[in-house]
């Protein structure tokens, strides 16, 4: 087991496309790190450079303290689980898992012990004699993980391992992966574009965008303290609302003035942080879960406002209401019992303790 470090790592494909533009990242021993970001942001490229499947154009990658820039994949002591599993179709499940050990000249008894152990962890014991063709998607996924586990490598690499599974199985395998990590505690780097997967699995999440790292942190921190508009919008579902407005100084307290003459008081504990910004145009950021039906209005940090939904989406445990504010699409989450109806004004509550202010030009959270 080992830590992994990336120093100013760059990947430029021929033709000049810079897929990864100089990223720094330190991953601790035993840590589960998830790289998340939209399609094409360079997640896979980063992972494949760590695996040694792509050459590194510039910078340095080290695994367990050893610089591996020029080390071929087979000598990096890593294991990888691919999106479409990449099982060897001509080998049985047992041979698929044993292949890496066989190439490394482990003796038969040890190979069998390890494969049986992995099969037990993943509950695929009865499948060992089958060929991959005779397995379901979820079973193939387990075999692919088994192939990684038996090697007992320094680092596990996962590239969107669950995206070929249906929704239900995906949730199930997600827990499975987490369980496996808690058992074997191997340093893990996991790539996904699904922020829910990232939040649920990671010790730390790395949010990537356009070949750079936007922010690194534990899931809760990314949720509560995003540093950029991109992270604020990417983490959380439905996404955070951004409403253009102005920060005003009024009657000794700061207020956010939104289109439609909505004025929301900034909680007193934030005055210090925002006071220099008074008078500026800002983006007001609020998550749908903090934009609810009128409730708790007696609490100091909850402000009232009224909105007229254009669309309501009942989800069962909650109802999503969509309305427009000076062109901006806004989404709120209200109780299914609330009288939310399209075209009818709905009294709502804004939890201002969870507000964000962003610079409309740079997109940085202020």
């Amino acid at each position: 087991m080992a830590q992994v470090a990336l120093r100013k790592v760059v990947k430029a494909y021929e033709g000049g496309v810079q897929a990864v533009k100089g990223i720094d990242l330190d991953i601790a021993d035993h840590e589960f790190v998830v790289l998340v970001g939209p399609s094409g942001c360079g997640k896979s490229t980063t992972l494949r450079m760590i695996a040694g499947l792509e050459e590194i154009s510039d910078g340095e990658i080290s695994i367990g303290g050893r610089v591996v820039n020029d080390v071929p994949p087979r000598d990096r002591d890593i294991a990888m689980v691919f999106q479409n599993y990449a099982l060897y179709p001509h080998m049985t499940v047992f041979d698929n898992m044993a292949f890496g050990l066989m190439l490394r000249k482990f003796d038969k008894a040890e190979i069998k012990r390890r494969v049986d152990n992995a099969a037990r962890i993943l509950e695929i014991g009865p499948l060992l004699d089958r060929k991959p063709k005779a397995l379901s998607g979820g079973q193939r996924q387990r075999v692919a993980m088994g192939r990684a586990i038996v090697r007992d490598p320094k680092v596990f690499l996962f590239d969107e391992p669950l995206s070929n599974l249906d929704a239900k199985l995906r949730v199930q395998m997600r827990t499975e992966i987490k369980k496996v990590h808690q058992t074997v505690r191997t340093t893990t780097i996991y790539v996904t574009h699904d922020q829910v997967e990232a939040m649920t699995l990671a010790d730390r999440v790395v949010v990537m965008n356009g070949g750079i790292i936007e922010q690194v942190g534990p899931p809760q921190e990314l949720y509560h303290n995003p540093k950029t508009r991109f992270v604020a919008g990417f983490i959380g579902s439905p996404a955070m609302n951004f409403i253009p407005g102005r920060l005003e100084n009024g009657a000794g307290a700061l207020r956010v003035h939104l289109p439609g003459d909505i004025v929301l008081p900034v909680p007193a504990e934030r005055t210090e942080r925002y006071k220099a910004l008074a008078g500026r145009e800002v983006l007001f950021g609020i998550r749908p879960e903090h934009l609810t039906e009128a409730k708790n209005l007696d609490r100091p940090h909850v402000a009232a406002m009224t909105a007229t939904p254009e669309v309501t989406e009942p989800m069962g445990m909650e109802t999503l209401v969509h309305f427009k504010m000076n062109g901006a699409e806004i989404c709120g989450r209200v109780d299914p019992g609330a009288p939310a109806q399209p075209g009818h004004p709905l009294p709502m509550a804004v939890d201002m303790s969870n507000m964000h202010l962003l610079d409309p030009q740079t997109g940085r959270v202020l």
Partner: protein, 310 residues
Amino acid sequence: MSQGTLIASAPPAVAPRGGLRRLARRNSTIAFLLTLPLILLILGLVVYPFLYALYLSTLNKRMTRFIGLENFTFLFTRETFWNVVFQSVLFAVSAVVLKALIGFILAHVLHALPSKGQRKWRGMLLVPWVVPPAISTLAWWWLFDPSYSAFNWALMGIGVDPVPWLGQSGWARFSVILVNVWYGSPFFMIMYLAALKSVPDQLYEAAAIDGATGWQKLRHVTFPMMRNIISITVLFSLIVTFANFDIVRILTNGGPQDTTHVFATYAFQVGIQSGDIPLGASVSLFMFPLLAVFAIFTLRGVNKRSKEMA
């Protein structure tokens, strides 16, 4: 729903009226009609000649009398015939093995080339297979000429004695195999190249991470993934090579002393040139059991593997 299909696919005999239209609507009928031209072609060009050859092989030389298996028992007593059997097997097996090897290597080299250069080379390497063998073999025949040919001229240039390419049994056997390999390797190459391209890159990446060297990837990934193509290509080539006629006929015409005859050229000589058609038919029929056994085992393996794999 299921009832509807049941009625629609009921045999037309049950429904006398509109039976013809219903017949035409049945999928299997249409499928049969569409394959009918091919079936007729096979019947006319394969089954009929085969049965006719069977019939011929049981007649006497003047085709007037049924003599059972006498043609075959006669062949078994002839040393020339056993020479032909030996040479056919030697010719076909060594040519196919060499073609398979060379094709495999060429395919790998091509596959490793960047795709721009690849097309040019692929085109050039296919030329031997595209030129009609009767023509290219004539060119080879000229190259093999003992006194005026390029080969011997080049050999003399470096001080080596001229080689009787077609004049001496050993060399003649070598030469016909060489030309056949030259002609047939591109076919293997193109088949293998297609197979190589169909092996997913991720399998190689997985193998690299599992710790495989280049050679181990070839042995544990490429080769098993290509086994079916290899089997089928070898089978196909073996059949064609066993039945080869033009190369031997043009280069050596079976000589010297009948040592380069293969089944087809020997059958031609016995049947057409010496006028014993029943005996010639018997010779040509001799290939059949040999190839049939090989084909059955090969195809059985192919079937099993393709069921197990994707």
